[in-house]
Amino acid sequence: MKQDLFALFSLVKSSTTKAILNKKFLIVLLAVFFLSAVMGYVAAQDLERLEEGSDLMDFFVISFFLPLMCMIFGSSLIRDEIEDRSITHVLTAPISRTKMYMGYYISVFIVSIFAAWLILTSGFVTFFGILGVDMEAVRIYFDIVSIVAFGTLVYSSLFVLVSIVIERSLYFGLFYVFIWEGFVGSLPGNIKLVSIRHYLRSIGKELMEHGSISRYGAASGMGASIITLFILTAVLLLLGMILFREKEFP
């Protein structure tokens, strides 16, 4: 058991390191510069500090960079290893397939949450650094961090699953992030209930006191949203484990 856990830890460590050292991580750094620049520019416009700060982080981090980061790392980690065949030494290690899958999921979760946190923090520091930090601003920051954590949990499970099912998982990811979450998720009516973003914004409505997220009209209850996201994560993980367990690597 101890040896199993150590092997799992080794898989998480090596996969996480590999993802961070990958060229794809440059996208994170670009996003950091981009968001810092935008937040700095907006801050210089002398707007309503807490409202605008909250809205910008809601728009850029929760709705855009969070699913984007999970999509980039989730859809490529296992898929890249399958394609360059470096997964062979993992498959021939004495670790069960379900633990292997969990190892990859944990790696994607760590890298994605780190990337999203880096982007969020850079934007926050730039914006509130210029306009002034107080306890309200710090609270907005931690509220967004909580939503990012929930979001990473579920988006990672979705994109890791997609990566083992679809060969061109990046295209699916782009479709999902921009069309489904971005467009379908903002349509009126109940169709938004099938987007992850809806539940994240519903949690945000309960947590936050500033910005349009705090006035999100179509929100589901916080408890129901958290339970929905947990159940969705569990179902996606279970499905991924079953498919990975049965997957052949010719």
């Binding site: 080794s10 090596s14 360059d84 470096s86 030494h89 993992v90 290690a93 010719p250």
Partner: protein, 313 residues
């Protein structure tokens, strides 16, 4: 332990319309066994089935008495060196081995010692700290071999371990594989499409062709089968006409022909052993000057063509 390290019963594997293995029946004994066959014979498919990377469509395979599919405990006892390059280019050899060792549950001082010992055993110590993308093919093969050996498995699967290596590296790797069995007592299944290379490692072989075993056992028995089939022997030299006339009278010669602007004489013989016993005296008697003489059928493809053709040419 089971009599055979690997057993297959009616084992079939197909990929869409392509057949990888076709009702294969085989029992591979302990020691070193060579799996020989041309490209597409099913060697790599057999290894992937044996290491649990793919599952059979029909039939069964056991490795040391156990089903390898989803059997992660079995992985402690086997090591796999694939025929493809599975090394990450942005890592050093040392990092790769530490990662492989950690996945097998080894750590700290034990892992350090294992990496050191295995690198020494496979002759990879000198280049272990260099980036993998600077490695030659021979170095890559050694590193892959070290990865397969690191956890000291009972049984090693080496899929085309000599492919791409230069002649010196091939020679060294052959010696290394022999040592792994003779000194470290690993059982080894090694594949190649070059019979002569396998012959230098072991006398126990299995010939695969189009997903089936067409001959297996001691190499001399298989060679016996090969020797029974007509050989095409090429003779290059001058004053060959006299030799041709004498050869056509011999009862073991089927036909004599010429090619390459009459530069080369092709002799089809039914009993190669008799031909090789008598050719020296015939050359002397006819005063033929021979520059070169070789059997065109020593290549593996000709052997397979003969064996699968039931002896008909």
């Amino acid at each position: 332990m089971n009599e055979f390290v690997v057993s297959a019963r009616n084992l079939s594997k197909w990929y869409g319309d392509v057949i990888g293995l076709n009702s294969l029946n085989i029992g591979l004994p302990r020691g070193i066994t060579g799996i020989v066959g041309p490209n597409g014979a099913g060697k790599s498919t057999l290894f992937k089935l044996a290491t649990g990377m793919i599952k059979p469509n029909k039939g069964s395979i056991t490795v040391m008495g156990e089903d390898p599919w989803l059997n992660h405990d079995l992985m402690k006892r086997i090591g796999f060196c694939p025929d493809y390059d599975n090394l990450s280019d942005y890592s050093t050899g040392k990092r790769y081995l530490y990662q492989v060792g950690a996945l097998h549950g080894s750590r700290n001082e034990e892992l350090k010692q294992r990496v050191k010992k295995t690198a020494r055993d496979v002759g990879a110590r000198d280049f272990l700290n260099k980036d993998i993308d600077t490695y030659s093919q021979g170095m890559r093969q050694r590193l892959k071999l070290a990865g397969a050996l690191l956890h000291d498995p009972d049984l090693l699967f080496l899929d085309e371990p000599l492919s791409g290596a230069d002649p010196q590296a091939r020679k060294d790797l052959i010696e290394l594989i022999k040592d792994l069995h003779e000194e470290k007592e690993h059982d080894i299944l090694v594949s190649s499409h070059v019979l002569s290379e396998i012959e230098r490692m072991t006398s126990e072989i299995a010939l695969l062709y189009k997903g089936r075993v067409i001959a297996s056992g001691d190499i001399s028995e298989v060679r016996g089968l090969i020797d029974k089939h007509p050989h095409n022997i090429v003779i290059d030299g001058v004053r060959k006409n006299a030799l041709a006339k004498r050869l056509i009278d011999q009862n073991y010669v089927v036909s004599v022909g010429f090619e390459d602007n009459r530069r080369k004489m092709i002799v089809e013989v039914e009993k190669p052993d008799e031909f090789f016993q008598q050719i020296a005296s015939l050359v002397n008697q006819t005063e033929t000057e021979v520059f070169e003489m070789y059997s065109r059928d020593d290549n593996l493809q000709a052997v397979f063509d003969y064996l699968v053709g039931g002896g008909k040419r």
